[in-house]
């Protein structure tokens, strides 16, 4: 395993995200944004990993990420997403949702818009825990159990779902353009149809066993009904939201909370997870069939599954794989991507062959040659 170098940045990194690249330009990832937490003065920062195509790059780690610019951030950065090429949205522990604009020419950052106290309790602030956007729409969730929909460049909120959840909503993602998926601290996935006016979810899914809090969720880039979640017990669950209310397969991934799970955006046979236990895992399937093995459900030689119930109805071949207990329909490989003994890896993002992650050891790791 090639050595991966840490860049120490004097701040605990809570989130790291690649700036999106337009598919047409065949550009590689070169700029990423980070947010810090647990500081008296938190910051958001933009970094560059320099140009590609330079020769003699043996192991892909030529040069450290260079700081382009940074800006003060009020409260911990609990989530961060790129709205477009120049703007990011952050979720703050003060309950504020803020849009920052990165001025590429002058390498400065300015606050473009802010909704302070978007998430709140009657007498206190409530941290905003997750944000997802599909420009110009922004959806946020928080410890107050609210779901809020904003539009960039429009003051005020578009829609609020109060008491969407009696527990903390930890993460949100788009399922379709009008449907979102949230995960909460009593182990439930909830589907919300934003076209409906009702304040109830259209579907609730949960594990049949213990109500383990879920911390992260990501949707398969091509198959919109396939969703992966990770939670407090470090288990990776893959769900099919069309059928049944329980996960399709469960895999022991980490020995502590899983903070983020990401399908690779263009190679979805690859999945990445990071955890409080200080590890970052790269999951790769190499099945003959079109369906990756972790979607085939049930037991696999390198997975340990708990009591996941067989889904009712549904695709015949999938159920056969489950019932026959055939473990070799596909192969699942996991690789550790970081040297051991790092503190918690709080965040990761992957784009093309580039992966960036941030840790509580105040280090950023960039890998430019992820084997995908």
């Amino acid at each position: 395993m090639e050595s991966i170098n840490a860049k120490y940045v004097s701040q605990k990194i809570s989130k790291s995200r690649w700036r999106p690249v337009s598919h047409s330009s065949l550009q590689q990832a070169d700029i990423f944004a980070t947010g810090s937490w647990d500081n008296e003065d938190n910051k958001i920062s933009f970094w560059s990993i320099g140009s590609h195509g330079s020769s003699g790059v043996e192991d892909g780690f030529e040069g450290d990420p260079q700081l382009l610019c940074e800006h003060k951030h009020d409260g911990d950065v609990l989530d961060l997403q790129f709205l477009d090429q120049d703007r990011i949205v952050t979720a703050s522990s003060t309950g504020a949702v803020t849009i920052f604009r990165h001025h590429q020419n002058s390498q400065t950052i300015s606050v473009s818009q802010q909704w302070a106290r978007a998430h709140r309790y009657p007498s206190d602030n409530a941290p905003c825990t997750g944000v997802v956007c599909s420009s110009p729409e922004i959806v946020t969730v928080g410890e107050d159990g609210r779901i809020i929909v904003f539009r960039a460049d429009q003051e005020g909120v578009i829609r609020v779902i109060d008491n969407a959840d009696s527990s903390t909503i930890h993460a949100v993602t788009y399922l379709r353009t009008t449907e979102i998926l949230t995960v909460n601290s009593i182990g439930q996935l909830k589907l919300w149809d934003l076209r409906q006016q009702s304040n109830s979810p259209s579907q609730i899914l949960s594990l049949s066993g213990d109500r383990v809090p879920l911390h992260c969720v990501d949707r398969h880039p091509n198959q919109q009904h396939i969703v992966a979640t990770g939670g407090q017990d470090g288990m990776l669950c893959v769900w099919d939201v069309r059928q049944g209310s329980t996960p399709f397969s469960l895999m022991e991934a980490h020995s502590a909370e899983m903070w983020e799970v990401h399908f690779h955006p263009t190679n979805p046979d690859h999945l990445f997870t990071c955890s409080e236990d200080g590890s970052l895992l790269h999951w790769e399937t190499s099945s003959q069939s079109d369906i990756p093995s972790f979607l085939q459900g049930g037991r696999n030689s390198s997975m340990t599954s708990r009591s996941a119930m067989a889904p009712a109805g549904g695709n015949q071949s999938l159920i056969n794989a489950w019932l026959s207990g055939d473990s070799s329909k596909g192969r699942l490989e996991t690789t550790h991507m970081l040297p051991s003994q790092t503190l918690s890896v709080n965040s990761l993002d992957v784009l093309g062959q580039c992966l960036v992650c941030g840790t509580d050891g105040e280090a950023i790791f960039v890998n430019r040659q992820v084997p995908v």
Binding site: N39, Y121, P127, S166, N184, S185, S206, E276, D360
Partner: protein
Amino acid sequence: MEEVDVEPAVTNIPAASSGTHLGFAWGPGDILVYETLYKASGTGSGDIHEVRKDEDIYSPILRKLFNESHHIFVGLQTIREDLPSKNKKPQFVSISKNYRSVIRACMEELQQVSILLAIELIWNLCEVLFIDAAPAGSLLLHLLDWVRLHKADVDEKAREVLQSESPAEHRDYWDVPGGTQTLTEFDVKWRHWHEEVDRCLQDNSFASNKHLELICKILVGDEDTLLEHKDLLSTWYHFLVTRLLFCHPTVKPTELHYYAQSCLTMFLDSRSVPEPLDSILLAAFEFDIHQVIKDCSIALNNWWFVAHLTDLLDHCKLLQSHNLHFGSNLREFLLLEYASGLFTHHSLWQLAVDYFDHCPEFGRVYLELQIERVPLDTERKALKVLRICEQRQMSEQVRSICKIMAMRALRNNRLGSALSWSIRAKDAAFATLISERFLQDYCARGTFSDLDLIDNLGPAMLLSDRLTFLGKYREFHKLYGEKRFREASKLLLSLMTAKIAPRSFWMTLLTDALPLLEQKEVSHHIVRYAVYGQVLSL
């Protein structure tokens, strides 16, 4: 009680008005100072001043030092104990070099000359003398490297002087011990050469050329000549190494301190006093490790250096384990002090946890006391603190943290969150409290709030009787709503007889039974309801 070695430092508090009587209270890493009314003239300010001794941990550049060295520290602790010591020495040297490279990286970023320069100088010398433990012969080479590294520009000039004449002899000279010849062979050759140069000087064969004569005098290590060129050798230890180079290149480690002491004395004017750095280096040359550590502890205001160096020396088995008065050994004491300092930092407290883990005597106790003081502003942070406690089976702290978070959630009416924290702590009492809240809400409003929670309790229901009752009671309502009266009635009866219903709810249960009595399927239950009602009225 030992006497204090240095005068205590006086710190002025600029914001406090002069002449006021100050009160104070110790904090974990600081002092809180306030103006008292005693002897107050006029109105004093109502301010509290925080006096911090260690500003270093708030420097962004030094934070890199703390984080990177933490990584090295943890790696060092996991070196296997059972390896023979000769295999371990290169590892320890390599770790020492890692620490030093981290210091140097920070030095490069900090523009001004800082304490880091002195720290690296001392550490480097300790590595040469203690960890690498260079024997006679290579010892001098290491010392040369050491001095060169720190006085690079001075060395340039010295090299100019040396290389201007007689290159051939010098080339032979640099064919150094540790190469192909033994120490004795080299010593013999060297003495021979030295005598020859000395004879040339005595013969005045170079009298015609002042420069050449000067060079020869330097080459034989003539003290007066060397001292005349003091400005080229900016420090006494540079003087020392130069003198050793020309007079005693095969110096043994045990002889070092004689030369060190005399060089220090010769180099300093009669007026100037040795600085703390000088005494530390001298103690190192005397191989008095404990004195080095003690002097560094006093001279530096942050425990980073002594803690890490002592830990490394302890792994090299160089510290005699003499126990201190309070039960732990020197290494542990210093690590505890360092880690306690880290714990006062709003962000670096996470690093401290690993240091406490590797203090076998008191580390756990320190951690237990400190971890409860970490402010829990967000759930995310509370989860991290909880994980630390759970991994170390600190069940009391787990309960305490979960209770704090659950209470906070309850106050903000987040019943699901509160329940989630109770489940984590397996806190049956709190789960009961939450269930009571739900039931009170029901009684007040006639409907359940947060159905998404109650309908999906799952096995968590079993955490407390009250919670089980809540879940089952809701189930009863669902059954009734679906017109499954027989099952509803059976469930209601079992709720009554199982004695998990709270007393305050018994009347409600009976009232719920009334509409059921009208249903034909459950008429046979009437008798049992009647019996139950009879029991109640008693």
